[in-house]
């Protein structure tokens, strides 16, 4: 009995191995977990409304996705990479080295990062400076030097804020949301100190360390990648604030409220108009060499950039995507359909 089993297994394994070099008829997409909900929604609609197979979308994170995307040209490599930030110059060079010379960049819209707390708690009006002073590991002491963050309550940070303990639930360092928060909120707050702004020019490394280092004394709590979990924790702990993507705020408006940042509420309109300070652009990248080899890439891009998908009334808006302004949307759609290769990002 064992012999037959082993033989079957070997035959199975061999046959499987030999077929894997065959052509692929599904589009492979990898990348950011922030773009994942939008990419999957388009993939599903694309699979349902066309004769092509539903693309496979992997959630690997932006960095991991870029690594896979720029690993080579050929059926075993992904066709499209999602990113919650622009492709880095180093990643672009990696792609060039392996022969993926022409890459089309498609900016799909914006994602806001909400700072929210439970409905039962006081609605906060924060500034980026408040966020920086509450969450930075070291803050300037006014004499050009730094001290370990002494602030215990929001009142310590800003006298106008309530006298509650600083307790913020947020994403871990592996998350794209954390990168964006560091860059937009923490650095934004940092820049409100002239001496720190000056530091950026003289010693960028130090500037990054000072401005992006989050507290490790319990005031900032890493709550894992699961944003639903953060929402649940906020409801059970009204003193805490949470940091997560805007779509989670939109889906849970009955339980949580978004704090104003620099006086602006996180809403669809404020994020779209860039009035809300903590928002970022989302992208996907197409490997032009695969167009024509893998069926359906052009059609997928057409579906993604159609108004019924990414328009302000489209189904991606229902999933929480903030659309690009009309003019920009039209020009991006045109260059995406023409598969216009991007130049090296700076």
């Amino acid at each position: 009995m064992n012999k037959t089993l082993i033989t079957t297994a070997v035959v199975l394994a061999m046959s499987a191995l030999s077929t894997q070099a065959m052509a692929r008829d599904t589009i492979n997409i990898v990348g950011s977990s922030t773009v994942f909900p939008f990419s999957t929604a388009v993939a599903e609609t694309f699979g349902r409304t066309t004769s092509f197979k539903t693309p496979k979308v992997e959630s690997t994170g932006t960095g991991g996705g870029m690594k896979l995307f720029c690993a080579g040209v050929g059926v075993e490599h992904p066709d499209i990479a999602n990113a919650s930030r622009r492709m880095k110059a180093s990643e672009f060079e990696d792609c060039q080295k392996v022969g993926a010379k022409e890459i089309t960049e498609v900016k799909i819209g914006f994602d806001g990062i909400a700072i929210a707390n439970a409905k039962s708690a006081k609605h906060l009006d924060l500034t980026l400076k408040d966020l920086y002073l509450a969450l930075a590991k070291d803050i300037p002491n006014g004499n050009g030097d730094f001290v370990a963050n002494p602030n215990k309550t929001w009142k310590d940070v800003n006298a106008a804020l309530p006298d509650t303990k600083i307790e913020v639930l947020g994403p871990p360092p592996t998350s794209g949301t954390r990168d964006a928060f560091n860059e937009l909120a923490m650095e934004g707050g940092c820049n409100s100190f002239p001496e720190l702004k000056a530091l950026k020019k003289t010693d960028e490394k130090k500037y990054k360390a000072v401005c992006q280092g989050l507290r490790e004394d319990g005031a900032y709590i890493e709550a894992g990648e699961n944003d639903n979990l953060i929402v649940q924790k906020l409801v059970s702990n009204p003193r805490a604030l949470g940091i997560f993507g805007y779509s989670y705020l939109e889906q849970n408006t009955d339980k949580i409220q978004g704090s104003k940042v620099n006086g602006v509420e996180p809403t669809y309109e404020t994020i779209a108009s860039a009035a809300y300070p903590i928002s970022r652009a989302l992208f996907f990248y197409i490997k032009n060499a695969h167009v024509g080899t893998i069926p359906g890439i052009k059609e997928f891009v057409a579906e993604f950039t159609s108004d019924k998908a990414w328009g302000p009334e489209g189904y991606l808006a229902d999933k929480g995507l903030i659309s690009l302004p009309d003019a920009e949307r039209a020009s991006v759609a045109a260059s995406a359909k023409a598969l216009k290769p991007m130049s090296k990002p700076e």
Binding site: A9, L17, T19, T26, E44, R48, K53, E58, Q251, T253
Partner: protein
């Protein structure tokens, strides 16, 4: 002299029995305390299990029902099959969306505003036209008639009906508008809204729309992965155990192998994922996200479990069996395969099933090999892109839509049911075939 009568003074040497008697109370108390701690530990464990199950089941059981809206749909010949040839291609391409929307609109003749109409249409799932198409394709005789058809409702209506959206909250605090709630109430009064058993959950692949999302794709992925894992790991594991236990010389090398096998059983599973990424995907070029590569990784992960269980099973076969077989002239190989192995097999199978149960619940190694993916199509082989049940649970738990909360719990219930069945099978197999000497 041995038993001197107790004297008036307490200073006489105490007898052994007195010392024992004096300590007896303390020793009983010690035992009682130990038992109490034991009972407490068991009770605590059980309490957590009960808590876990009640939480998951109370959150998840509602997902096994799905809200439908009954509508009188006119399956007009002009729209579905204008040529009247019953050509399946024509029937397939018809505009079913219009049929359903018209039927719903009839229920609210007073609504003409475009914005309000959009809201009305949003009460239906975007998968509803496809379901109607399948229904008509299956029975073309329906064309030209008006049927009362149960149409799939949108997930937000589903949540409203199930009470997961508070109707009395302020409008700004909920996803569903006041108008929609009024319309839904009216349909409810007419008996046009009902919950039916959620077959979609068991027959469809995943979806971004909660009402269309099912676990069939993940279940098939798990099935193919486990099947191949079993086919690969059981023969190799049993063979290795048989050789190590019965044939291998006892020396330093076999000791080293034994220690390593035991160590491998304790290696965190993510390490196997990294190994799979480097060896199977990187070196052998196996396609990512397939049950094949998942099974190869799982095989390496479950091998130590199976080897250890198989060796224990072999050890428990009494030596007299081997000696008797050898004594009447069987070769060592015959002894093993004809006499020892059949007796040890129940124990080996138990080990294999427990190893499989662990593989069924595993996600960490799959992170590395591309199984954390959105795959709608149900896999039909070892080389199709697939995901597995625990990964599906993880992905749903991460989705912002409210309706995915209950679906996540429902998928957990299904996973737990399978784990329970597998463990039950292990117990029953052992009961049925176990021999005691």
């Amino acid at each position: 002299m041995n038993n001197p009568a107790p004297t008036q003074s307490g200073a006489t040497p105490r007898r052994t029995i007195d010392i024992v008697n004096a300590s007896l109370k303390r020793r009983y108390a010690q035992e009682r305390r130990f038992r109490l701690v034991g009972v407490f530990a068991v009770a605590l464990g059980l309490a957590f299990v009960v808590l876990l199950f009640t939480d998951i089941i109370s959150k998840g059981y509602t997902a096994f029902q799905q809200t439908y809206i009954r509508l009188p749909v006119t399956l007009s010949q002009d729209i579905i099959d204008p040529t009247g040839t019953r050509d399946l291609n024509a029937i397939s391409g018809a505009n079913y969306n219009k049929l359903i929307r018209d039927a719903l609109r009839q229920q609210f003749p007073e609504v003409t505003d475009r914005r309000e109409l959009r809201q009305i249409y949003a009460m239906l799932s975007i998968g509803a036209p496809q379901l109607l198409r399948e229904q008509v394709m299956a029975d073309p005789g329906l064309i030209g008639t008006t049927q009362e058809i149960w149409v799939l409702a949108d997930d937000e209506i589903d949540m409203l009906i199930k009470g997961n959206i508070d109707r009395h909250a302020a409008q700004s605090d909920r996803q569903v508008s006041d108008e929609t709630i009024a319309w839904v109430s009216r349909l409810e009064q007419q008996g046009r809204i009902a919950k039916h058993f959620n077959t979609i959950f068991f027959t469809h692949g995943t979806s971004r729309e909660p009402e269309l999302a099912g676990i069939a794709g993940a279940l098939m992925g798990s099935f193919y992965t486990l099947l191949l894992t079993l086919v690969l790991s059981f023969p190799i594991g049993v063979g290795a155990a048989l050789y190590l236990e019965e044939f291998a010389p006892k020396n330093r090398w076999t000791d080293l192998i034994e220690v390593n096998v035991n160590n491998l059983a304790a290696v965190p599973s993510i390490v196997f994922g990294l190994l799979g990424l480097a060896v199977f995907i990187g070196f052998f070029g196996v396609q990512r996200s397939t049950p094949l590569v998942a099974a190869l990784v799982m095989t390496i992960m479950t091998l130590p479990t199976i080897i250890i269980a198989s060796r224990v099973a072999l050890k428990s076969v009494p030596p007299s069996i081997r000696e008797a077989a050898l004594g009447i002239g069987a070769s060592p190989l015959q002894t093993q395969f004809h006499h020892v192995l059949p007796l040890a097999l129940p124990g080996m199978l138990t080990g294999a099933i427990i190893g499989m149960a662990r593989a069924l619940g595993e996600t960490a190694p799959l992170l590395m090999i591309g199984m954390i993916a959105f795959i709608v199509d149900i896999p039909h082989g070892f080389n199709d892109s697939a995901t597995v049940l625990p990964v599906q649970i993880y992905l749903w738990a991460d989705s912002p839509e409210r309706a995915f909360v209950e679906r996540t719990s429902a998928a957990i219930i299904v996973l737990l049911a399978f784990l329970f069945l597998m463990n039950l099978a292990a117990v029953l197999l052992r009961r049925k075939f176990e021999r005691r000497w």
